[in-house]
């Protein structure tokens, strides 16, 4: 039976890993995800898990060890943040292209410089093209639930891709929350045994992984990765349905909050969706038709489904907790791209909350206020804005 517990986001992630009891965890500490390997190594020391914990000397080595272990046929997990994720860069591509179902929790944090340890999405957004599936989580509950489902998604032979489960550093990773967890037997049954098709320690049928791939094959192997992502769309829904039967909690590609009849909508990832829901409730009580779309799956991007969900709104603001200098925010780029065929809808981009800058209900109200102006005038003055920026001539 499920029970209600009080855990921080990091504790929820470590607890999920304890229940999953992976064969190998290789990790290196970095704020704000440090507590995940810290708590997990305690579980190992106490004999509460059977996991081989590999304390490595860097994140590059952490992901390398994960790749080796996963290639050997072991269920493998890790966690990181920010510079740690950046340091894994080349290994992230290798994990994905070797089709290794590693599951990694990322407590999102800004990238230096200037040096900053607080939350934004620069780290995981930079990793969006590495070939990893990316799931985003509003709360500790969603982090826990996403990790459970990530194991199934990653290991499905139709997918065979690593999964990154993202939550907001400090805001979610360090805040205590009330959440519901499964019991160990339910987890064991839900995730099942990992049964890889090909792996290095299979003495009956030895294989080589990671050999040189010349031009005559490379493109075909990249096309296979795209097929894994395409298949993931179906698998994500199947796993979510099964998880809903078990827990009663519904998951899909994204969450719609008062969106179906909305005139104006915000698209935003992770914890800021919680703040936005409060504002939506407030605006709805005033008779303003505001709504929210909170993507859970960023890779693969559910393009058609997002376009369908937003088709009846008049103006959309996409809030990015990461920037692409000289271009637009990464989430905005995706959303406007999938909305291209619906040119009647105005779409604007706000860069917000960088390096942990607080975003409160007032900021979100301002965004909805701007959207109401856009609907009224039919005009977009600036496509890309910095929310709450101090600047000359500003208010």
């Amino acid at each position: 039976m499920a029970k209600r517990v009080s855990l921080s986001g990091n504790e929820a992630a470590a607890f999920a890993m304890k229940q999953i009891n992976p064969d190998v965890v290789a990790a290196y500490p970095i704020t704000p995800s440090t507590e995940i390997p810290q708590y997990f190594s305690q579980f190992v020391a106490n004999g509460e898990v059977d996991t081989e914990f590999v304390a490595v000397e860097s994140e590059h080595s952490a992901m390398s060890a994960c790749i080796g272990s996963s290639a050997a046929g072991a269920r493998t997990m890790t966690a990181t943040s920010s510079q740690g994720l950046a340091f894994m860069w080349e290994m992230l591509y290798i994990a994905a292209s070797m089709r290794l179902p590693i599951v990694m929790t990322v407590a999102n944090r800004a990238l230096s410089g200037p040096l900053n340890i607080h939350n934004d999405h620069s780290d995981s957004m930079g990793a969006r093209d590495t070939g990893w599936i990316q799931l985003y989580s509003e709360s500790a509950q969603e982090t826990y639930d996403n990790i459970m489902q990530a194991i199934r998604i990653a290991e499905d032979p139709r997918v065979s891709l690593p999964v990154m489960v993202c939550m907001d550093g400090f805001i979610t990773s360090h805040a205590l929350e009330s959440l519901e967890v499964l019991d160990n037997a339910e987890v064991k049954k839900f995730i099942g045994e990992y049964d890889p098709e090909q792996f290095l320690l299979n003495a009956d049928h030895p294989v080589s992984l990671g050999a040189m791939d010349l031009p005559v094959y490379y493109t075909e192997h990249k096309r296979q990765q795209q097929a894994g992502m395409d298949n993931a769309k179906q698998v994500i829904l199947e796993v979510a349905q099964e998880y809903e039967k078990l827990t009663g909690r519904k998951y899909s590609y994204f969450e719609k909050y008062d969106l179906d009849d909305a005139d104006i909508a915000i698209v935003v990832l992770n914890s800021t969706a919680g703040t936005t829901k409060v504002v939506v409730d407030e605006l709805r009580s005033q008779g303003i038709k505001a709504g929210l779309l909170k993507p859970r799956t960023f890779r693969p991007i559910p393009g058609k489904e997002i376009a369908e969900a937003l088709k009846d709104v008049k103006a959309v603001a996409v809030l990015d907790k990461a920037d692409s200098f000289g271009a637009y925010g990464p989430l905005f780029t995706e959303i406007r791209n999938v909305m291209f065929d619906n040119k009647d809808i105005k779409i604007v981009n706000y860069i917000f909350g960088l390096g942990g800058r607080d975003v409160d209900t007032k900021d979100i109200e301002n965004v909805y206020g701007d959207l109401m102006d856009i609907v009224k005038t039919g005009k977009v003055c600036e496509v890309k804005k910095y929310l709450g920026i101090r600047e000359k001539g500003g208010e």
Binding site: S97, M98, R99, S160, E197, Q198, N202, D204, H205, P206, V207, S208, L209, G210, A211, D213, V216, Y217, T219, E220, H221, R223, Q224, A227
Partner: protein
């Protein structure tokens, strides 16, 4: 193992190739012909050869053909023309020399 049959020839489609470039069968490097990488090729003179087998021991590609314990020639389909065999061939024999292709 699923027992799935893969195709690995150069005309295989992405659906037919093993995923991630995994090499599913041992010894298939033989199918990969590297002879056209060569700029210079080793020429072997059996009359000068003293059968020390140094060339066979040093060749990084296993391209020295040996039968019944004796060098019989060079596998030009796989020899990349590195020239190690010509260097290692003892001075008193000099049975292998590199020539431009």
């Amino acid at each position: 193992m699923s027992g799935k049959v893969y195709k690995t020839s150069a005309d295989a489609t992405w659906e037919e190739l093993p995923k991630a470039g995994i090499i599913t069968e041992p010894g298939n490097a033989q199918q990969f012909k590297t002879g056209d990488w060569r700029v210079e090729k080793p020429e072997y003179d059996p009359d000068k050869c003293i059968q020390c087998l140094f060339c066979w021991a040093y060749c990084p590609e296993g391209s020295i053909k040996v039968e019944d314990g004796k060098v019989v020639g060079i596998d030009y389909e796989h020899c990349k023309g590195c020239g190690i065999c010509a260097v290692e061939c003892p001075d008193r024999a000099k049975a292998i020399k590199m020539v431009i292709e």
